[in-house]
Symmetry: none
Subunit: 182 residues, 4 copies
DNA sequence: GATGAATGAGGATTCATTCAT
DNA sequence: GATGAATGAATCCTCATTCAT
């Protein structure tokens, strides 16, 4: 299958990058994981960097938690999901974060993914915010940025420290933002 | 001369790693930046990994913003500082984050640094919390974790997106946590 | 082409190791002698040690003087051959002898080669021994070991000393063992 | 002590070379074994090769089994001694054998040592030979060369094969040469 | 005499990339 | 499309040697 091999390579890249990290991943590793010859990787991708970019794009399109429906309901579901340890998307995101400063395509892809997430969050925040005193809708984007920041930062702490209590941190964040306020 | 070279190598490593990233940094690069022969790096550090660990430890000891005095005052100062774009410590922290899953020493060093920061934050939070209804002091660690998460997550967004408004996000976070509440 | 390169590398290794010795032989030297790029050596052999082992095995299989036919006739032919100075197999054998204590594969390969040689010699010795008084067939292995020892030891002396008279030593050994005895 | 250090270095070189082999021995290793700084080695010996030569000379002068007295008695004692597994001199001799083709000083030192040994053996052989029919005293040097060859070759086989029966081989050799003959 | 920091050439090995099949 | 042999530059690391102290 023509494009089948291409996809297998990209998916293999996501898996290998997630588990070994960029610095320790060779094109040969990815080819082996995909079950193809090393040469075929360069048939589809001119350089290793191109492959990495494709992998990040794939991950942002396929692995990122997707949601629909009522914003607040979505927000609550997202918070619950964030308490779970297995987050393949965040795994790769962290690996790619170190690449972003020197690779525009990676940077922009990550950025688009963040923007999308913040957009979802913003909707939920606007709904909650309506009941807050002293807050205007124009502050919603900034609060969404804080929300995204908290989610990522909590994930990082949990990743570094097996003893970290993600659930407590997320609950505290939820209480800070969604709790009553006057 | 003796230990002077060693320190110059470590400091050079911090600089080069911060700007080029781990994957693109060679021992030779670091030696050149330090102004010593490549062989000398391995005189002081058995492996590249050992040097990286030393660099992370150095950065966590020397580069991390240090603070003292009144917790709340410190907190306000920290928030202001976080608005500025140049954060050498966060730079290296992000690079090392991708190494942490596969390097225990790096992971533990980063973790210690986070724990220290959260400790400072917790003091400020306890002070503020006293005036909050419906919150107990036992929730302070979780809120401190959220605060650290927000600071790091905001920095990341600013790093990826030159147009990101760090100040707005930080102000929003401050308002969320330090604003009045009843 | 495929396996052809592999063999050329092994043969080149035998040549270079024989003439330069292990300590002075680099992988690059072997690649140059084989007429291939340095990287290709590691395509076929994971480590330099693996290549050396392959070279020793090749030498033991291809370079060692092979013989067939009447044992006594073979023995006489072998003795004559040992008088000649050019002995590519012994050359490599001596080089590898220094490696054997620290490399099991080398050690076992050399050992197998010695065992084979002693086996041939033993046949000749059994035939001669039949006419000896006071000797039993069960002593044949020990005498074969002595014969192998003498052949190697004589070669070594000739190798160290250009003035050494190998022929005289070999004739003396032949007289000791194959001369009449009563 | 001035020359004390020098000797400690040479003795350390003999030990390290014997156990690690030439290729795996660095000047630093030897300095460490001798308990001196690496720089001091080059105060006494211009190059590593010079040190190796000194080590071989020392070993040939100090480690080689020395003997005196009645030739035949000496020969018997030598044969008995050769049955024992621990032969520090042969150990180093084998290591140096691989160096000899490319190092004249090593070659000549080894050669002198062999010549000395053969000289001892020759005396014993002449004594025994007097009772042999069909042998002339002028054949004594060749027989001594065979004797040396057998001793070394037997040692080599025992070194390569833990299961090798050195005693049986040496007894067989003794019977071949010192047994009755008419 | 003695130290050990410093040098830099050279070693084994890895790996992105190319290309004939 | 697909293979995998082949390339060669670059990497980490070792080590004999030098030299200021």
């Amino acid at each position: 299958m023509a494009t089948d091999s291409r996809r297998r390579i990209v998916e293999a890249a996501v898996r290998v990058l997630s588990s070994q990290g960029y610095a320790a991943t060779s094109v040969k590793d990815i080819a082996a994981e995909a079950g193809v010859a090393p040469g075929l990787v360069h048939y589809y991708f001119a350089t290793k960097e191109d492959l990495i970019v494709a992998a990040v794009e794939y991950a942002c399109a396929e692995l990122r938690p997707r949601v629909e429906g009522d914003p607040i309901e979505f927000a609550r579901a997202g918070l619950e999901q964030a308490k779970r340890p297995e987050q393949p998307f965040w795994r790769l995101f962290t690996e790619m974060l170190a690449l972003a400063p020197r690779n525009q395509a990676v940077r922009e892809t990550l950025l688009r993914s963040i923007a999308l997430d913040r957009g979802y969050m913003e909707q939920a925040i606007r709904a909650v915010m309506a009941q807050w005193e002293g807050w205007g809708q124009d502050e919603a984007p900034a609060v969404a940025a804080v929300a995204w920041a908290a989610m990522f930062g909590i994930w990082v702490q949990g990743e570094l420290d097996p003893g970290f209590d993600r659930a407590a941190a997320i609950d505290a964040f939820a209480k800070l933002t969604m709790g009553e306020r006057r």
